[in-house]
């Protein structure tokens, strides 16, 4: 089999690729369950249908989808420019640390300004953590893929030091965690008895803003040109360094916001389990959403469902926790594989014999 470039990229494949990737993921997933000795039909029911059976399921879905969508919006801007921030997890943690730090510093405050201040601090924390790789890239040409990932580990270490020493809850039995935040430091619940909270509005606002930004702004156009044709961007005089700063700071900022959303939401404190890898999963969300602000909403919901299903499967089927990661990873893998067929098509190489026959047929 040979890959041959298509004359024009296939429009059909561009839309079909995500669907094909989902089908392939389900197919291989079924095989996986069979190998584990589970009935795939039952497993899929537990994974994808069961979680949405009641209001609580939907609340949990939105609760998980909101940070994924928020982070992916920021990442997608960079990906368009071919700036690959893969350390959004670290920016999320720094957002949580900055926002959480405010909550801890003003533990007894009842002010209505506390939460907005935390949100602002979280945004700044994430943006700062994104700015470091931007500085390293524009000054020293350091690969952002490496620096962002390494800084994610650094952020994790900073967090674990903070919660095991200076910010540790004195009454917390020595667990590495901070005090539980007061009500003024938490997003309020939207519905009685459900965990979904008002931070979801941050995501909704972000989707709208990013949609306008991507489809209407000249800045987003410049970023896209930089990704599609770097030489054309240089020819037009769009500064490459501005694109780097914009991509990394913006994606850091959204990740930081998501971090505050977690600590001031379902988690309610700083501890070592702020995020179940949202920063990494959001990379997949961005790609499956085709880097489009609206596409990302759908892919974010899908990824959140996989999170929920994975948890449900652990309880109902005693499958390992890794199931979630496996499904998410497969989805990205198959999508990237399918993406190849947007620009290329598969062709059987002419076998020697057939080629010779063809030639003979043509000769007089």
């Amino acid at each position: 089999m040979l890959l041959e470039p298509r004359a024009t990229p296939s429009r059909g494949m561009r839309l079909a690729a995500p669907l094909l990737a989902i089908l392939l993921t389900l197919g291989v997933g079924a095989l996986l369950f069979i190998a584990l000795g589970k009935d795939p039909q039952e497993a899929f029911h537990v994974l994808f249908i069961g979680p949405l059976a009641d209001a609580n399921g939907w609340s949990e879905l939105l609760l998980k989808a909101a940070p994924l969508i928020l982070i992916a919006q920021g990442l997608a801007i960079g990906f368009r420019a071919r700036i690959f921030n893969i350390g959004a997890e670290g920016q999320l943690i720094m957002g949580a640390v900055f926002g959480g730090g405010v909550a801890i510093a003003f533990q007894d405050s009842q002010s209505a300004w506390l939460l907005p201040t935390m949100v602002l601090a979280g945004a700044i924390g994430g943006a700062l953590w994104g700015a470091i790789p931007a500085l390293l890239k524009t000054r020293f040409n350091a690969e952002e893929t490496l620096t962002t990932l390494m800084l994610a580990y650094v952020a994790n270490l900073i967090l674990s030091w903070l919660v095991s020493d200076p910010w540790r809850d004195p009454g917390g039995m020595n667990f590495p965690q901070s005090v539980m935040f007061g009500d003024a430091a938490l997003f309020s619940m939207l519905f009685e008895g459900l965990r979904l909270n008002t931070s979801v509005f941050i995501t909704i606002a972000a989707v709208l803003l990013f949609w306008i930004f991507v489809s209407k702004s000249f800045l987003a156009y410049q970023v896209t040109v930089g990704g599609l044709a770097p030489q054309a961007a240089r020819y037009a005089g769009f500064p490459a360094s501005r694109t780097v700063w914009l991509s990394l700071v913006l994606s850091g900022l959204t990740a930081g916001l998501a971090g505050v959303g977690e600590v001031a939401g379902p988690v309610g404190q700083l501890n070592l389990n702020i995020s179940p890898g949202y920063g990494y999963a959001a990379i997949i969300v961005a790609w499956i959403g085709r880097l489009h602000p609206v596409g990302i909403v759908f892919s974010g919901l899908l990824m959140a469902l996989i999170y929920l299903g994975g948890e449900a499967a652990q309880m109902a089927l005693q499958t390992p926790a890794a199931i979630t990661g496996i499904f998410q990873g497969m989805l990205l893998f198959f999508l990237l594989a399918c993406d190849v067929f947007i620009e290329f098509r598969l062709r059987k190489p002419l076998e020697k014999r057939r080629a010779a026959a063809l030639a003979r047929k043509a000769l007089p």
Partner: protein, 518 residues
């Protein structure tokens, strides 16, 4: 004249196209085209930009599927589903845009395209043999990135020849070659023809066609509009067949306005960024309002480096470039454009235009200064309108402002980019190879447009490999050779010979040019 090779013009046709049609969403690119090529014949295909020449060649090579029509090969009907099938039949094609891997050696590149099992060492020997036999010197072990454009084309040709083709298709092979390389290529092609290989040859250079080809098929708007024996035609009559009217002549009126220096290059020196670049040394030149200044010379003598330094893509020291009296050497391309510079680069796809974007989006690339952006937001209707006006004024044949840049034929994209830059009413306009791949009619139009632009008070700098073009439009001509620039001499005081001499680097030490050059 070269001796006429013995051409077996009789006998069965090598290739016969019958009623080929190919429709793209927006245009009928080939409309009922029939064509006969005999063994050993060098057959030209002429036509305006967008006439459908490349499309027809891609149909023959299996790179594009025709909607209708038949292909007869050596008297039998064949189906050519893909290029591999075409190669198996004995059809080779050299595309205008090369498809070589820069990081591999010549022989590795060739091995890749041959496919199957191969032994690099013996293939290298075969490559050397073939390249020697046809006068196409090539070192099989060199890396492609270190080759000049002409050498890269040789690789493509040798790659075709290794498969012993019976038909060789060349799509505008000489638009990027030096005159010497063109001579060599013609010798090779004649030798091939004398061995019975048929050649389909596309070019906009009518002199070349008259010299090389014994038959020509003329296309317009996707249809065959005539056949001719180019040796019995004049360039003017061929042009008339192509564009359906007389070829207009350029007129350069005297500039009446005040002659001010607009672009000044002062002692510009620069080390190249990579090992294969050219060092620019001590370049000085002034372009005034109301004049067209030309820089002659063969590409690879610092042209790319000089252009990048002037456009701002690679900034230099502050004082080295002055735009309307302001030192801008350190500024980037955008800042220089803000100050009235327009620039047309030689690479259209990927530099002058973003291939995957529409023409309206490509208008925005540099013309966003024309009120196409307000409060940081794009004005889509305004950009479409700008693109539409450019399409109309410069007669760009395409599917409208929404057509992707890469769907345009080579010459039409060039017209669009030149148009986009001119419509921004620049103070200084720099153009590299203004008419590469542009048909004769459109070339004449573009040249006249550049002259008119200068007479409206703009300073125009043209870098071109085509001496005739420079003599047609320039008021003064300088030569860039080996990274050094000769003084710009008024056109009347020089001739092709003197320029040729300067090209070989034999001009006197360049003296700092006075602002009142003769």
């Amino acid at each position: 004249m070269n001796p006429e090779p013995p051409i077996p013009l009789h006998g069965e046709p090598r290739l016969q196209l019958l009623h080929i049609s190919k429709r793209y969403p927006s245009v009928l690119a080939n409309d009922d085209v029939s064509l006969v090529v005999r063994p050993g014949e060098i057959h030209a295909v002429l036509g305006e930009n967008g006439a459908g020449k490349s499309t027809l060649m891609k149909v023959i090579y299996g790179a594009v599927k025709a909607d209708m029509g038949e292909i007869m090969w050596n008297g039998r009907q064949v189906d050519i589903p893909d290029p591999a099938a075409a190669r198996a039949l004995g059809i080779g094609m050299v595309f205008q845009h090369f498809s070589l891997f820069e990081t591999l050696t010549v022989v590795e590149n060739i091995a890749l395209s041959l496919g199957g099992e191969f032994d690099l060492a013996s293939l290298a020997i075969k490559v050397s043999e073939v390249s020697k036999r046809y006068g196409l010197p090539l070192d099989p072990l060199r890396h492609v990135y270190s080759l000049s454009v002409g050498e890269r084309q040789r690789v493509e040709i040798v790659r075709c020849l290794l498969q012993n083709p019976q038909l060789l298709i060349l799509d505008e092979p000489t638009s990027v070659l030096t005159p010497q390389a063109v001579r060599k290529l013609f010798e090779t092609l004649r030798q091939l023809a004398s061995e019975g290989v048929s050649i389909l040859y596309i070019s906009h250079k009518l002199d070349e066609i008259r010299e090389l080809c014994e038959r020509a098929t003329v296309m317009r708007g996707g249809r065959v509009t005539g056949e001719a024996n180019p040796r019995q035609e004049s360039s003017a009559s061929l042009a008339r067949m192509m564009i359906g009217r007389e070829l207009p002549h350029c007129e350069a009126p005297v500039f009446e306005g005040e002659r001010k220096p607009l672009l000044e290059i002062r002692a510009l020196s620069r080390e190249p960024d990579d090992a294969f670049g050219t060092r620019l040394s001590d370049i000085a030149l002034t372009v005034h309002s109301g004049e067209v200044v030309g820089i002659a010379g063969i590409s690879g003598n610092g042209q790319a480096e000089l252009l990048a330094a002037l456009s701002g893509e690679t900034p230099v020291a502050r004082e080295m470039v002055q735009l309307c009296g302001e030192a801008v050497g350190h500024r980037d391309a955008g800042a220089r454009r803000d100050r009235g510079l327009s620039f047309v680069p030689e690479e259209r796809l990927g530099r002058g235009a973003v291939p995957a974007m529409s023409l309206a989006d490509n208008a925005l690339l540099t013309a966003h200064r024309q009120d196409l952006v307000r409060h940081g937001l794009r004005r889509f209707a305004a950009a479409r309108d700008f693109a539409q006006r450019c399409i109309e004024r410069f007669d760009v044949r395409c599917g409208g402002a929404a057509a992707q840049a890469r769907s345009l034929s080579g010459g039409n994209l060039q017209k669009f980019i030149v148009g986009r830059e001119i419509m921004q009413t620049p103070k200084v306009m720099i153009v590299a190879q203004p008419t590469w791949g542009v048909d004769v009619g459109a070339s004449a139009f573009l040249r006249q447009t550049l002259i008119d632009l200068s007479r409206s008070g703009v300073g125009v700098l043209v870098i071109s490999e085509e001496l005739e073009e420079l003599f047609e439009i320039c008021d003064r001509i300088a030569v860039l050779a080996g990274g050094r620039l000769s003084p710009a001499v008024p056109r009347e005081q020089t001739n092709a010979e003197a320029i040729g001499l300067a090209m070989s680097g034999l001009f006197a030490q360049p003296t700092p040019e006075s602002t009142h050059a003769a």
